[in-house]
């Protein structure tokens, strides 16, 4: 089997994403380059997590560690194949059990921490934000609760507290507060085996290595390498990803790309349309006597 060792460096991905932001900034002609950090100045790499379902035994210590770290109730429902447990306002990551052609398998589900996240591109206040360390975080003081991030996320990750007068968006933030302190996410710490933490480049190389060394144990693909423009959660599995509840119909290019064309056209319309309108007005004014009934 030929293995594609085309490893993308993360800073490149980030630069592209920030370019989107910068261009769209012209949108309102209120100023240039506001809000976006200078991409050339730092070489921090995106961090990521690799989940290998051939190792996971479904013990759910990751779920418990997450609940404890964020003061959520401990999950107490049973795992059953065929019943898909979803993340929700009080559960940022879940393990599900699947009956597959390769036997019983467990898969973790949480925010994918996309390289170019749809949620962050959607957010009009940058409350959803792709940090330079990689995690996509939510910032309470900025969010206005419009839920456009939920509409846009292809993985349906952000969850909204519908029954609160001061609602928050809940989703995994890869324990950003721990990462900046040099610690690793609570779930990865609790697991230490099936779920590992590192830079995206290292983990991608590791995933390719595992496939190359034991091709029979894996389905040959890495979910997250390309999907949605590449994500910070990388998955390995023996059975096909279709069988494991992954959405394999998603596009491989980034989602913010979809509205880029529209956003790019905005400045030109702002520049071109007003003079055009003025021109038409002058042209039609001269030709017509007053009170003309013209169509």
């Amino acid at each position: 089997m030929i293995i594609n060792l085309n490893i993308k460096t993360m800073s490149l991905d980030r630069r592209n994403f920030i370019k989107t932001i910068g261009f769209a900034g012209l949108t309102l002609a209120v100023g240039k380059g506001f809000g976006s950090p200078n991409p050339n100045e730092d070489d921090t790499e995106f961090h990521a997590m690799l989940f290998d379902s051939t190792i996971c035994i479904g013990c759910r210590s990751c779920e418990n560690a997450c609940a404890k770290a964020h003061d959520f109730p401990e999950p107490d429902d049973e795992l059953k194949a065929g019943v898909i447990r979803k993340t929700n306002e009080t559960r940022r990551g879940v393990i599900n059990k699947y009956d597959t052609s390769k036997g019983e398998l467990f898969v973790r589900n949480q925010c994918m921490h996309c390289n170019e996240p749809a949620c962050a591109a959607a957010c009009l206040t940058q409350a959803m934000y792709k940090t330079r360390e990689g995690p996509v975080i939510w910032r309470e003081d900025k969010c206005m609760g419009c839920r456009y991030c939920m509409v846009s996320c292809p993985f349906d990750v952000p969850k909204f507290e519908y029954h609160s007068a001061n609602p928050k968006i809940q989703k995994c933030d890869m324990c950003y507060d721990r990462i900046i302190k040099g610690e690793i996410p609570a779930c990865a710490e609790a697991c230490g085996d099936a779920l590992i933490f590192g830079t995206r480049r290292e983990l991608l190389a590791e995933a390719h290595k595992r496939i190359a060394e034991n091709p029979k144990d894996y389905n040959g693909k890495i979910y997250g390498e390309d999907v949605a423009g590449g994500t910070g959660l990388l998955y390995l599995a023996s059975a096909d990803f279709d069988e494991l509840g992954f959405n394999t119909k998603l596009q491989n290019s980034s989602y913010p790309e979809l509205s880029k064309g529209f956003l790019f056209s905005v400045p030109s319309i702002f520049v071109l349309l007003p003079p055009l309108l003025l021109g038409i007005r002058e042209a039609t004014k001269n030709n017509l006597p007053k009170e003309e009934e013209n169509e």
Binding site: T20, I21, G22, A24, G25, T27, L28, F34, G35, A118, A121, A122, C123, L124, T125, Q126, A127, D141, K142, C143, M144, G145, C146, R147, Y148, M150, V151, S152, P154, D156, K159, F160, E161, Y162, H163, S164, A165, P167, Y255, L258, G261, F262, L263, V266, I269, F270, L273, P274, L277, L278, R281, T284, K285, L288, K290, E291, E292, E293, N294, E295
Partner: protein, 408 residues
């Protein structure tokens, strides 16, 4: 203008201005009209529901879910409502840019309608925001989410409201008898019109562009990269149909306010508008056809959603278009109105198909608005009509401006 109010106001005495405004605030005319009897309880109920919503959270009165975070309040109030408010930019384009003077008599009422529509839909948007106290963040730069289509739409809503207020302001000045202010404000009209049309082009299409990233969530018959263009083109005839519809009602309800000359002009205006609607709808139908062929979704037509798509295209685009053609050929005003109503229904269906019905059409649990969401929506619409009526009864919107305004 024989209204003594203008005389009072013109004295320019501060105290009398306040007395004048105070007098104007009082209701005029009968209280127990059928409209009042229906609308007052609904508005009160709506207010009570809004209190509950802010107290217990959005989930307490809506049926929204984690998978379907935008429902009736966005899909109908905002997305559909703004399409209907498109009449203002189309009409100001015709009157001020193309210099089609014939339509001048309906500019004021259309702009008023558009302005109120935006004010109330922006208001409805606040109800839907989970954290409305942060609504100023994208304006004050905490932070500027410039890669967001919603950021663009939010700014445009705000700027457009200002532009429409400027366009309408001479009427307010006439009402207050503020002669100098009127002169200054009228001088700003053209600028506001040009700015307003530009903003409208962008946010009418922007409302469609909001859904571009929801590629996998919207039924493929309604999702395409051309949603923005389709939304823009359809806002032309959506807005004009609203002008026809609203004009027909105002003509009955405010009959006495409209001058003889403008009554006579109405027929010509309506047939003219139906011509434009027919043209825009033809273009729209053709675009939809191209998009459909481009999308290669023939197989999807033979499914319930496919039939629904065909109903929308033939029953609510092609049919009203033909009716518009028929009505201007025969100058049949009744048909113009029928066509306008069908067109408006078609716009509601189309916008809801993109935003609600076709959004997560495959989800195991479908979203259907709760009765409370519907009541709040009705309360918003009724309140808007109340304010609309209040203004029409006081300011020279339908009736001719005071004679001093013409001399300037």
């Amino acid at each position: 203008m024989s209204n003594p109010a203008y005389v009072v106001a013109k004295e320019n005495d501060n105290r009398s201005i306040w007395r004048f405004i105070f007098n104007e605030l009082k209701p005029k005319g009968k209280w127990l009209t059928p409209f009042n009897i229906i609308s007052i309880p609904i508005i009160l109920l709506g207010l009570a529901l809004i209190v509950i919503r802010f107290w217990k959270g959005i989930g307490s009165i809506t049926n929204l879910t984690q998978e379907i975070p935008w429902g009736l309040w966005i899909g109908f109030d905002v997305v559909t409502g703004v399409a209907f408010a498109g009449g203002a930019y189309v009409l100001t384009f015709m009157v001020y840019i193309l210099n089609l003077k014939k339509y001048h008599s309906i500019v004021r009422i259309t702009v008023l309608n558009g302005f109120l529509a935006y004010v109330f839909y922006a208001g409805a948007l606040l109800l839907d925001l989970g954290r409305p106290w942060n609504v100023v963040n994208p304006i004050i730069g905490n932070n500027f989410g410039t890669s967001s289509v919603l950021f663009l739409v939010a700014w445009h809503f705000m700027l457009y409201m200002i532009a429409e207020l400027i366009e309408f302001s001479p009427t307010i000045a006439e009402w207050l008898g503020a002669r100098r202010a009127r002169k200054i404000l009228s001088g700003m009209t053209i600028g506001a019109v040009i700015f307003g049309i530009t903003l409208s082009t962008l946010h009418q299409s922007g409302l469609g562009a909001l859904y571009l990233m929801a590629k996998d969530k919207i039924h493929p018959l309604w999702y395409s990269e051309f949603i923005p263009v389709l939304f823009l083109v359809s806002s032309i005839f959506a807005g004009l149909s609203m002008v026809i519809f609203e004009g027909s009602i105002s003509h009955k309800v405010f009959f006495s306010k409209i001058s003889e000359k403008n009554h006579k002009a109405q027929k010509g205006i309506l047939t003219g508008l139906s011509k434009i609607c027919a043209g825009a709808m033809f273009a729209y139908f053709f675009l939809q056809l191209l998009v459909f062929i481009h999308g290669k979704h023939w197989d999807l037509l033979n499914s319930p959603m496919g039939y629904w798509f065909l109903v929308e295209m033939f029953g609510f685009v092609l049919l009203p278009m033909l009716l518009f053609v028929y009505s201007y050929r025969k100058s049949n005003i009744l048909m113009v109105r029928v066509a306008a109503i069908l067109t408006m229904l078609g716009i509601i269906i189309n916008r809801l198909n993109v935003t609600v019905i076709g959004f997560r059409w495959d989800a195991p649990v479908h979203y259907f608005p709760s009765w409370m969401e519907i009541v709040v929506t009705l309360a918003v619409i009724f309140t808007e009509i109340w304010i609309f009526r209040w203004i029409i009864n006081r300011m020279p919107v339908l009736n001719d401006p005071p004679s001093w305004a013409k001399e300037d």
